[in-house]
Subunit: 375 residues, 2 copies
């Protein structure tokens, strides 16, 4: 049976079993059988063998920055990183788009994965390698989507190391390959997108009407030291510090007044930005001399940003974000294969919010933003 | 009329006027006249002339780290920093404990300020200077409290630069001066309290049954670069990144398993830690190899930490924190004179939470934790 045609109607039973195994955390969960929502997961990682091999070669070097440490897996004390010398279970899941991934999607009733090349994408490579790797990854992504047009969309990679080449590849990825948006993994060579040399990338994303997902990577070398112990450079703390700081730089720089229609997506419930919006607005007003934009930070955030639920299955956080952003700026994501499909799906199935909001978060916002096929 | 004996009963009228000028932000506010709560503000800055002069001398040097920049005021583009060469209005308010401060407290119905030496306290000074400045500041603080015993409590300073001297001063401050707890301004010489050399400080605070308030300062030199533009090193973003990272290091290091009764206080609604508790717990479980403690991060946080509302007048954040922490681990604070007394008071007067919770947050928790006089 073609995996593309598998029915998603069996998902309810599987989820009921998963729910019976007990939810993590203290939040109350409803126990009603899940509706058959259309579900589009928007931050789903994959890798191509060439990227994996290039990163594995780096992992065998003496370079020990926080990303390399994370990908290598060993020195962090954690079990095999996704790109270590030996192919881990996580690494295997990352490469797969035709087997287990589709089976899990079917089991959990997930209509589509919006794929993106796993972090840090091409951003560990020298410019020429990064440019060619981004092209190769985008070509492969287009092939995967052609093979499974109802199951996958994809965010195109580009090499910020060479902004002019990045813009060319962004144009090709949207116009020729028909990819659905862009991904960048926070800093590039310890620099951020608010710097003028990167403005052509922001300009191209806006002109192509294609959202830019700023995905985490570990803190830049220029802020690495305090994050270098206790494995705290990664998802447990460092990712939000790095990526939230990147986003706040973009907001406070005022650069988005040049690109008011650009859409930027942040995962992980907004990388701590939503929690700090009141205080950011307050100090923006308080110290008038520091204003780079006529808009306060929360207005820039609400004009230019959307967030996803990747990796945060906490109804308290969801409720908080809904109060600040409303249901039109939040999208569902699993963060597969770093996160498991079943609990991420159950979290949104059971979230105590109106069905109309759930439809927006599960698929309507993603369909609109990423030009994905509706059911 | 002795300011100590001024009635706080006139506060209602003043607050009604303040409320009529309009609340910032989008949160709904109740308009009922405020009850006459007992109000204890728990993160209230002051300075002594000797600290001010020593910092002003540093501000005239070529040292330009993020704290010095902030205190100097000039290079940040903001109007006069509190410790600049010229005494700003903010600096004047910082030095005052007998005049305008008491008048504002009376106007707004604030029974007590829990004073602390303004950030970064003694932590910019060489060890010997820091040790003597901490002693001097604590002596002065005890004098101020003796002069106004019903209006002020105080958090003692110490010099982490010399842990042995710090412990001696902590003991003197509690046993002889009867001060109410301790304050430290995040990192010291780019080092954090989870390092073993600082454990005697944590041990002393626990043994003296006195809470340790970890107040922000700007990001350490070791993470400064990404925070060095757009004035983002301070309250608008950098403070929570620095102080939250410090707290997360303490949590993830497992050191608090040695000091399970130590109470640590974080301002600004927890410096982004509460927002990230689900994800921190999740990854702590997920990667079993990285665990330093038998407790997950949120359990450590709920065992050892309390938060204050300083500088965040957002009912959405308060509601979120109540869901995670309940009303026994949250205390009210103004952050005077960096923040204005009236709106901070109005925020808690009008917060849509049960009166019993409001009594805890306004004063009961602070009275218990800091051994402050009840009404």
């Amino acid at each position: 049976m073609d995996t593309d045609r598998r029915t998603v109607l069996g998902a309810g039973a599987a989820l009921a079993v998963a729910a019976a195994t007990g939810a993590r955390g203290a939040q109350p969960v409803a126990r009603a059988a899940p509706r058959n929502y259309r579900r589009i997961a928007t931050e789903e990682a994959w890798a191509i063998p060439e990227q994996r091999e290039a990163i594995a070669a780096i992992a065998r070097s003496t370079w020990n920055n926080l990303d390399v440490r994370n990908l290598r897996g060993g020195s962090s004390g954690a079990a095999g990183g996704p790109m270590g010398a030996t192919l881990s279970a996580l690494g295997r899941r990352m490469l797969d788009v035709d087997g287990e991934r589709l089976e899990l999607m079917d089991r959990d009733g997930v209509a589509m994965h919006l794929l993106s090349l796993t972090s840090p994408g091409v951003q560990l490579f020298a410019a020429a390698t990064a440019v060619s790797m981004a092209k190769l990854a985008n070509d492969r992504m287009a092939e995967v989507i052609a093979r499974h047009p109802t199951r996958y969309g994809g965010l195109a990679s580009f090499a910020p190391q060479d902004p002019a080449a990045a813009v060319k590849e962004m144009e090709r990825a949207v116009r020729e390959l028909k990819l659905n948006g862009f991904i960048v993994n926070s800093h590039t060579n310890n620099e951020y997108l608010d710097q003028e040399k990167y403005w052509p990338i922001l300009e191209a994303a806006e002109a192509l009407d294609s959202a830019l997902y700023i995905h985490p990577r570990s803190p830049a070398d220029t802020m690495a030291a305090p994050f270098s112990d206790y494995n705290m450079h990664a998802a447990i703390w460092g990712f939000q510090a790095e990526t939230g700081t990147h986003a706040m730089r973009i907001i406070l720089s005022g650069v988005l007044d040049r690109f008011p229609r650009l859409k930027i997506v942040l995962g992980h419930m907004g990388e701590s930005i939503p929690y700090n919006l009141w205080r950011a607005d307050h100090w923006y007003h308080y110290r008038r001399g520091i204003q780079q934009s006529s808009l306060q930070p929360s207005d820039v955030f609400k004009r230019n940003f959307l967030i996803t639920t990747s990796g945060v299955e906490d109804t308290r956080v969801l409720d908080y974000c809904l109060k600040w952003l409303g249901p039109d700026r939040i999208m569902w994501a699993i963060d597969y294969p770093y996160e498991e499909s079943a609990p991420a799906t159950r979290f949104m199935n059971e979230a105590p919010i109106p069905d109309a909001d759930k439809e927006k978060i599960f698929h309507l916002n993603a369909e609109r933003l990423f030009r994905l096929p509706a059911a």
